[in-house]
């Protein structure tokens, strides 16, 4: 199959935010639009100066004019767009036609307030579908796609179309990413790559090496980069703060260098142009476009973060500490590192960012001292951070005390009562499953505090249960029969079970199809539910021969009495 510019663009859309559904000859593209309205550069209504919410002396985060220094309640914008409408317009006027030319079908479009999906039916062009499947080496989702070899080996025009496709679904030309510089605030755009480390590193190389587009930095979704002082970890706790850094990676680029790519989505291109014109007027110097490694100043060394060992990190990075974005690029195999790996002073270059030509002759003692100084800087930072952590912990404690007043006390009472059942029911489920499957490995967990997807990530179960990783399923207790790739769910209740409780579990069951599902309570079902279940067994059905089991916990016997289905 001939890799045309049109196909390269579609491949870019898929690489950026696509899913391949092999058994349905279908490709789904996801277009995120978190903000309802997207705006250009904010300007002061009095003097026309740029306004920002700069943090210094601005506790209320108000827009302040950078010229007249006044608070600006309603900044003026040259352009404002309703993102959803604009995306739908682009789909109708451009994408649908392109896709129809290639596939013979108009794509299906759906979505909600923050996301739009379009799916491409390739059943009439199976050759193209096979071609795409092979390009992405049988991977099926954008969080695991890599730049296809055929794109890497193609000409510049094809590469530009590919990156343009990625930009349209994963690129965000917004003012909010500005950087303070002596000439003024310098706008940046970014490509947001979700959970995909390899693709980010490959794009970094393609942009710089092949297209000569300098990347200003990568805001990696890594604990050392996103939460360098472990503030978020302390604020949100281990549960949420321990993974909050892992959302996405942002490749930051000054828009004036991205002109040869740009965007096909009209509203993005329009705001992008405004950012380009603004930056070009200020005549920023190019001296900050030095390629890595770049010098790490002493105040840039970061403390060690608990998340450095997280299994959310790729093997190449797990258990390692990073002080600069480019060190992550280095470990992921980006091309610039090849110049230094295995060469003289490799370790010093990596730790300090000094280039070999900047390094005078160093003895082993000198190298030891460099390392000691770095560790000293890290230790000093840690001492400062500990003071910040204590303040945060104090604040959180006060907040918790306030929460425990009035009606919330009653809620907490019920919650604690429910939690009391988690441990005995987890044990009960384990015994129950071991009797059922004596030869298989069975794991049971209290998952009440987690979404199942997060829990599976933390416990290395994602590869086994990949299909369900993205659904926000939150049963209280889950059993994993690993060899069979099957789940068992328990929804725990206190008091009488109601119809609503059955319904909530039914929703999970219809999608995840657990081998067995229970609703178990400390009390018997309500009279109305008993009446309903006596005559409506089908209410509990969620698969061919699978029914939700309704049971009651017998505290004395430490056992469950199954009441329905009879």
């Amino acid at each position: 199959m001939n890799l045309t510019k049109d196909i390269a663009y579609i491949i870019g859309l898929i690489a950026g935010r696509g899913y391949i559904i092999p058994n349905k000859n279908r490709i789904i593209i996801e277009i995120a639009h978190k903000n309802y309205v997207i705006k250009g550069i904010p300007r002061c209504s009095k003097c026309g100066g740029i306004t920002t919410k700069r943090k210094e002396n601005n506790p209320d985060k108000k827009e302040i004019c950078q010229d007249c220094k006044k608070i600006v309640e309603n900044p003026l914008y040259k352009q404002k767009f309703n993102q959803r409408d604009e995306i739908l317009k682009t789909i109708e006027s451009f994408l649908s036609l392109k896709i129809k030319e290639l596939t013979g079908f108009i794509p299906i479009v759906s979505g909600n307030k923050t996301i739009t999906y379009l799916s491409i039916d390739l059943s009439k062009n199976k050759k193209l579908f096979e071609f795409i499947i092979n390009l992405f080496k049988n991977k099926t989702s954008f969080d695991s796609f890599e730049i296809p070899d055929e794109i890497k080996d193609s000409n510049i025009e094809i590469k530009i179309e590919f990156i343009r496709g990625i930009s349209d679904v994963a690129g965000f030309p917004t003012w909010s990413g500005w950087l303070p510089r002596t000439e003024g605030l310098r706008a940046r755009i970014y490509l947001q790559i979700v959970r995909n480390w390899k693709l980010t590193a490959q794009l970094y190389d393609m942009l710089q090496d092949d297209l000569r587009i300098p990347v200003q930095t990568i805001d990696w979704g890594h604990p050392n980069i996103r939460d360098p002082d472990m503030i978020e970890y302390i604020e949100k706790g281990e549960e949420e703060g321990g993974v909050a850094w892992g959302r996405e990676h942002q490749i930051k680029i000054f828009p004036e260098y991205f002109k040869r790519i740009g965007f096909r989505f009209g509203y993005k291109q329009s705001i992008f142009k405004e950012l380009v014109e603004y930056n070009e007027k200020l005549n920023f110097k190019d001296n900050e476009l030095s390629y890595p490694p770049t010098r790490i100043s002493i105040d840039q060394y970061k403390i060690k973060h608990i998340g450095e060992n997280s299994n959310r990190l790729p093997i190449e990075l797990r258990g390692q500490h990073f002080d600069a974005y480019w060190q992550i690029c280095w470990k992921l195999g980006c091309s610039f590192a090849k110049k230094y790996i295995g060469k003289k002073y490799e370790e010093v270059v990596y730790l300090s960012g000094m280039k070999p030509e900047e390094i005078k002759e160093l003895s082993d003692e000198d190298i030891k001292n460099i390392k000691l100084n770095i560790e000293k800087a890290r230790q000093e930072k840690l001492e400062k951070d500990k003071i910040k952590w204590n303040k945060i912990k104090e604040k959180l404690k006060n907040k918790e005390n306030k929460k425990l007043s009035g009606s919330s006390k009653l809620y907490l009472y019920w919650l604690l009562k429910e939690r009391d059942l988690y441990e005995p029911l987890t044990k009960w489920l384990c015994n129950y499953l071991k009797k059922l499957y004596p030869k298989l490995e069975v794991l049971t967990y209290d998952t009440s505090k987690h979404y199942l997807s997060k829990f599976m990530t933390r416990n290395n179960l994602v590869d086994i249960y990949e299909t369900y990783a993205e659904y926000d399923i939150k049963p209280d207790i889950v059993g994993f029969i690993k060899d069979k790739k099957e789940f068992v769910f328990i929804e725990v209740k206190i008091g009488a079970i109601e119809l609503k409780n059955i319904g909530q579990l039914l929703g999970y069951c219809c999608i995840a199809k657990p081998k067995i599902a229970f609703v178990i309570s400390s009390g018997y079902p309500s009279r109305s539910l008993i009446k309903t279940l006596e005559f409506n067994k089908e209410l509990l059905k969620y698969d061919k021969d699978s029914y939700i089991k309704v049971g009651v916990w017998k505290e004395k016997e430490k056992n469950v009495e199954i009441l329905y289905p009879k």
Partner: protein, 169 residues
């Protein structure tokens, strides 16, 4: 700046919309008896017509809004069940409605939301065509997003997709 709608305001918008919709779609065939927020579970609702619905004594649930329609030819009574949510609609919400639908087999069942269907579920039902969670009695639960900015139903939020013309025409 977009104003946030309260639950009560949203409920009233839906009630008005539903009333007009039922008249438009079913007005010729049915008499629209009742469109309101039930104050009790349906089996206990103090409405003469609903008592005629088959198996009403098992309807031990209270949707946010219901419509009661009476067939002009044979006096058969049909139900329309509507729930509403300010947030997005996920599996728990669909499961709850699935329960109501299995029991009451309504003429129509609708989840109204200000956010729409949660992304992964949208992908699953509208693009992957795995619609089991929506299906009951040869019909499907419908999900609609109210676009409060435009004061209308967001066409591309209508799920399942084949109901778009039915809802908007």
């Amino acid at each position: 700046m977009e104003e946030k709608l309260t639950k009560i305001e949203f409920s009233n918008i839906i009630k008005n919309w539903l009333h007009k919709f039922l008249i438009n779609k079913y007005g010729k065939e049915y008499e629209i008896i009742y469109v309101d927020f039930p104050e009790r579970t349906l089996d206990l609702l103090n409405n003469h017509e609903i008592k005629k619905v088959r198996n009403i004594s098992f309807f031990t649930f209270k949707p946010d809004l219901i419509g009661i329609l009476k067939n002009k030819k044979n006096d058969n009574v049909e139900l329309v069940i509507v729930n509403r949510e300010l947030k997005s609609i996920g599996l728990r919400e669909l499961g709850e409605m699935q329960c109501y639908c299995r029991l009451s087999k309504p003429l129509l069942s609708i989840w109204f939301s200000l956010q729409g269907l949660a992304g992964p579920i949208d992908r699953l039902v509208n693009h992957n065509k795995k619609e089991e969670i929506l299906e009951y009695d040869n019909k499907k639960i419908i999900i609609l997003r109210w676009d409060d900015f435009k004061k209308q139903i967001d066409k591309f939020s209508i799920t399942p997709i084949e109901y778009r013309d039915f809802i908007l025409s």
